[in-house]
Symmetry: C2
Subunit: 154 residues, 2 copies
């Protein structure tokens, strides 16, 4: 795999099967996703909701015809920070076979660049404390673990 | 103040001055907000962006004619968790004089109820590690600090 030939673009509906496969092919993801054929409608509904919202972008990393990574970026206007916009990154995954080659870093750098173009003052994300290697990965990219990430499952 | 008489509703443009005052009247908020008359346009722009977005709600806690609290709730569709929607709470603030009387708890419970009505499977937020009392407050409401909250200022 040649990192220079990896392209990032918005996902199309044809990519959704592969995206869900990538999300489910993971220690934590395997417990919460439901990858099967045909895909459950909930995934299609979410795709269409994201795709029709100008403040949500589902981004795939492509190498030739292969999708080797995915991330979702949400742009949100807040009153805090003098009415500043933030970019939130979520659902970041690289294909296991392509890990450790820089695809993840390039993907996050792409998101940071996109956030600047959208005039965000902050890029944020949360990472599960059961993924210590992910924390190190994001810290190398300049992120500071200044906050506790709290979740309440309904 | 009688907690039973506190009402939660979406903010109106006339409330914005008071909202920005509440956000700025805080140890961390005073460093990043810019409360002055007239309000900087960036606050008005953010208000209108939030107000016109069906997935963003700026909520105020009212007691009689006074606004004594504020929070913003963002609803986001994700591919993860089988295409699940999440509610994110941000910019939570109670007027200093009304703290410790349960307004904050009622406000967060209101947001949780709203998230259920919007069929979210998760409510999430991040809290600055410099606010240990806030962490305790959210844990009492059922939130788990399972994640690191990472921020990158652009």
């Amino acid at each position: 795999m040649n990192l220079n030939q990896v392209i990032f673009r918005e996902a199309k509906i044809q990519d959704l099967d592969r995206i869900v496969y990538l999300l489910s092919d993971d220690v934590l993801g395997s417990k919460r996703e439901n990858y099967k054929q045909p895909l459950p409608d909930t995934y299609l509904d979410a795709f269409h909701s994201i795709n029709s919202d100008p403040n949500n972008e589902l981004i795939v990393a492509c190498y030739g015809n292969d999708i080797i990574g995915v991330q979702q970026i949400t742009f949100t206007p807040f009153i805090t920070y003098q009415g500043g916009w933030r970019a939130t990154i979520e659902g970041v995954r690289t294909a296991p076979i392509e890990r450790g080659k820089g695809v993840g870093s390039e993907m996050i750098k792409w998101a940071i660049h996109r956030a600047k173009k959208r005039r965000c003052h902050l890029v944020q994300l949360t990472t599960d404390k059961n993924r210590p290697e992910a924390l190190h990965f994001y810290e190398k990219l300049g992120f500071k673990p200044s906050h506790e990430g709290l979740k309440l499952h309904l």
